[in-house]
Amino acid sequence: MKTLRNLLGATAVSSMMATGAIADGHGWSLAEAAKPYAGTTVDVVFLLRPGYEAIEAMLPVFEEATGIKINIIKHPYENALGEQVRDFVAGGDLDIALIDLVWMGNFAENEWVLPLADVQAKFPDIVDPTLDLDDFFPLVLNAFGGWNDTIYGLPVDNYSGLMFYNRCMLEEAGFDGPPSTWQELKDVYGPALTKDGKYAFALQSKRNETQSADSFARVLWPFGGSFLDENFRSNLLSEESQAGLQFRQDLMQYMPDGIVAYDHAETVNAFSQGDVAMITEWSAFYSSVVSADTSKVADCVEIAPEPMGPAGRKPALGGFSMAVASQADEAEQAAAYLFIQWATSAENAREYLERGGVPARQSVYQQDGLEAFKFVPALVESWQDGVPEFRPRFAEWPEITEIVQEWGTKMMLGEVTTVEGAEEIGTRMEAVLDAAGYYSGDKPLAQ
């Protein structure tokens, strides 16, 4: 019964696509390419975030057309790395790796994922001629899906840091626009907006990846600082890095108490409840702050790119790509590739966007009718010159991020000074890199 239905469905879709294909003159169709793999189940980890919900909503079309079943295993971000690592280490079922950009070095070096080109060479028939890798924002494709000049995955869940601000609160305080620099935010907007139980700004800083990515890194780069210098030694004691870290300390007076325990949910909530005037958060939270169901300030929300520092605008960069797992068997590899290709295709990008996702295709942002998505201009601008190594993506990152998280939060709590904290992080970071062989030349200095 099911196969009959699938067959009918596949026939229906393939005839539709065949018509389309004839019109295009390409002769490639998803249903055709997927035929040998119908009935395969592909296991993949998804996060509990809007982009993934969008894909899930669109899934039936794919499954109908191909007969491939996508088995989605949902995890909170916190557990996603651990689950996948354990799965790959123990030879499990996952056929697709969902890769946070900072896990890229890890996954690639452990050979848990296959280079895209390899998969394409192995199964030439499943490659869509309209794939058009150049259509992806180069920064995004390389940072999320590439390592050591090889592309492994295609970017699926893409973020840029954006400034969300409450236009109403700003107007009330006499501002007709958001701050353009961090300095302005602290010196001018800070005092004016922090009063009567309201705060000017909130910077999510919880002691997990949020501290490293959202809090720590965010104040390093715009001030000219960085984690490492060219020799892969700690650069946290440099003047620029210290300036950034000290800036964050000073900015805390305009943030809610207990900001060190704020993760994304708390920060977005504080903004949505009208308690905080400005936040710099991931683009993905756009749908949440403009929806009346979850936000009291939906009508007052405006988007701008993140403020600039002395070294320019270096917005936070984050996102996930999907790559084919090397532990998958042949059919699963092909099926997985088809799914990844489909989910990140230019054709589907518009629908993905409309359902709450953020595609990384340049073509979709050149289309008309995107005014409802206020974040698009800021996003496109951010992806023009963000920093790929916003957070180093090498295999040692999991260890190093733990160090940054611990001492970054200690700095914010005032338990150590920025200098002491930087020293601690520096020493420990270098110990990790030393043990990994970066200084003795065993490992290339790639991040």
Binding site: L48, R49, H75, P76, A90, A265, Q273
Partner: protein, 272 residues
């Protein structure tokens, strides 16, 4: 003999105790009936229009129902297994004399003190190699590490309290040790057995760590499910409380019905 004033003080104290114990549950249930916007009201509201949406979503859309069933199956099975293995062992420890008895007892008991963290990853890797991940049987077995000690601790004491004469009488009639245990001692030890079963069930139902690590979708336990709602994206407090209520209510009802035995059991291994 008690003066009226001290009577009133007692009543006041008792009421305070009851309130402190019960209030968090009251708050949990009321929050579970709130929509997200209401739940985030500051200061919190006590009167509002309740909604069952959180429960409906959690149970039917998010799969909490399945996890509750998993927890049930696992808790019951591991309890039964612990009893099957533990009761004879307790009998042996109470009745027989043999070398190393004391150390064996100590080893059983210390197992309960082992932090699950020690066992979590090794068990994960072993289970993976045997293809036992995300299966009920895996949890049923690993929960023995704390269920078996409980059963043995409580039931051994229970058996010890039974007069030996009954045993001897049966022995004279040629009964085997097994028959003695089954026919004579077990019926008398039922209170203790029941108590250990209750404890075993409660601890298995409540267990979190192994549930998080060793299950994924098929055998996911309810506590693991509750925790997974806490993604950093948007904390659905109402739903989290609804799931929590669903997890807690069955065990609470169970505990209340069996409260007398529970109290007795607490003191079983303790007051000796």
């Amino acid at each position: 003999m008690t003066s009226t004033r001290s009577l009133w003080t007692q009543i006041a104290l008792l009421v305070v105790i009851i309130t402190v114990c019960v209030f968090p549950f009251y708050w949990m249930v009321t929050t579970s009936l709130k929509t997200q916007i209401v739940a985030l009201e500051s200061p919190p509201v006590w009167l509002f229009e309740p909604t069952l949406d959180n429960y409906r979503e959690a149970l039917f859309e998010d799969g909490v129902l399945q996890t509750l069933l998993n927890s049930l199956v696992i808790a019951v099975s591991t309890t039964v297994l612990a009893l099957i293995l533990g009761v004879p062992a307790a009998f042996a420890l109470a009745r027989f004399e043999f070398r190393g008895k004391k150390d064996l007892w100590f080893w059983f008991i210390t197992n309960r003190m082992v932090s699950p963290i020690v066992l979590a990853l090794p068990f994960f890797l072993i289970a993976r190699n045997l293809g036992l991940l995300d299966k009920h049987i895996t949890l049923i077995l690993i929960y023995l590490t704390f269920n078996l000690p409980i059963v043995i601790w409580i039931v051994t004491d229970q058996f010890r309290g039974i007069p030996y004469d009954l045993d001897e009488a049966a022995r004279l009639e040629g009964a085997s040790q097994f028959t003695i245990m089954r026919r004579i001692c077990l019926p008398l030890a039922m209170p203790g057995v029941a108590v250990s079963a209750i404890f075993s069930f409660i601890f298995s139902w409540n267990e979190l760590m192994f549930g998080l690590i060793l299950t994924r979708t098929e055998a996911k336990t309810a506590p693991a499910m509750a925790v997974s709602f806490m993604e950093g994206y948007n904390l659905p407090y109402g739903k989290i409380m609804a799931t929590s209520t669903l997890i807690v209510i069955p065990v609470l009802i169970f505990a209340l019905i069996a409260s007398k035995q529970l109290v007795r059991g607490l003191t079983m291994g303790a007051v000796k």
